[in-house]
Symmetry: C2
Subunit: 189 residues, 2 copies
DNA sequence: GTCTATAGTAGGATAGAC
DNA sequence: GTCTATCCTACTATAGAC
């Protein structure tokens, strides 16, 4: 994405290792070995292990935030907005499934400043999601008694896509979106 | 559950810490502080940090295995079996939400022998789940084009219950079961 | 951009006193 | 059952040569 390709290579390699063992269990030596260099050499490209983690997580969180903001301000029905959210998750997952492991499991290891920033984005995201579902219920687009369970179960599934998607062979993104929308929303409409 | 209450206290305290920061990021000194003692004292009750992790995870995995085996061998419809699986997850979650965090996120830190045992149980569990859904589709109890997505989305939601449930205030287990069954299966039946 | 060498810290675990 | 003291290892990160 950016021009700093060596740093990006390190970040990408780190995302894979973080996915397998979690941030805390991956050492700079592990990462260096994966890159075929020595641990000390990593520090010519990154400032700290922390910086790698925040690079992975904050970038992804901002992608979700941007995507959600566009959906929220669009002139669509609640159901269409939910479909677009599902689509957003699938797009991000296909592009960076490894990084999503860190976002889901290692966000608590962000340092203070980024932690607060992340938690704000995450809370806003969930808030927007909940508002869309509520609106859908108000205008009778969505039939349900329990908004919280719908928000929770849908988000759980979308957040776990990063684990499931790599195990499927050659799924077409559009077919996946169609089927995902079908399964997640059919119980709701 | 058992008589060895001091060990169980340590395991319970560890489960809470593992949930917050993950197994690798929790030190024996952290755990000792939470217990109000010194790190060295822990070793009078447990053999290693590893033992704490495997105690938490293996016990839970065996609960799921036992529960699933009973459901599989029962004389019920596919839908009823799925309802019983949802019920099983809710029961286990209400009893030990903290431990489920380790089962979900830190199983890869089990040592060789327990890791293989765990992975076998997990694979069997998913296999049984898939078989039940397939049978339901075969006999037209379940209408769907994509079995894998149903298995994935349902399991994702059930596995994430441990994160969501503690944030809800005073949910009655039976109401939760009813609503969960409604949301998870309505899109499927 | 990568290396060797190493500083400085923190981790899991044990020995032995009380 | 808990303590203090400590061993040994492994971690993140830096300095300085090539």
């Amino acid at each position: 994405m950016k021009q700093e390709s060596r740093k990006q290579e390190i970040v990408n390699a780190a995302a894979i290792l973080f996915k397998e063992k979690g941030y805390s269990a991956v050492t700079m030596r592990d990462l260096a070995t994966a890159m075929g260099i020595k641990a000390a050499s990593l520090y010519n490209h990154i400032q700290s292990k922390q910086e790698i983690l925040s690079t992975i997580i904050i970038e992804l969180a901002e992608e979700f935030t941007t995507g959600m903001n566009q959906i929220v301000s669009s002139d669509k029905s609640s159901i269409q907005k939910l479909e677009n959210i599902i689509s957003l998750h699938i797009d991000v997952t296909l592009r960076n499934a490894d990084g999503l492991a860190s976002l889901n499991n290692d966000w608590m290891h962000l340092e203070e400043k980024n932690l607060l920033y992340f938690e704000k984005m995450r809370q806003d995201y969930e808030g927007n999601f909940r508002k869309i579902v509520k609106k859908g219920v108000d205008v009778n687009e969505i039939k349900s008694n329990n908004i919280e369970i719908i928000v929770f179960s849908t988000l759980s599934t979308l957040r776990t896509l990063y684990l499931w998607y790599p195990k499927q062979k050659n799924i077409d993104a559009n077919i996946l979106k169609r089927d995902m929308i079908s399964v997640l929303l059919k119980g709701v409409v």
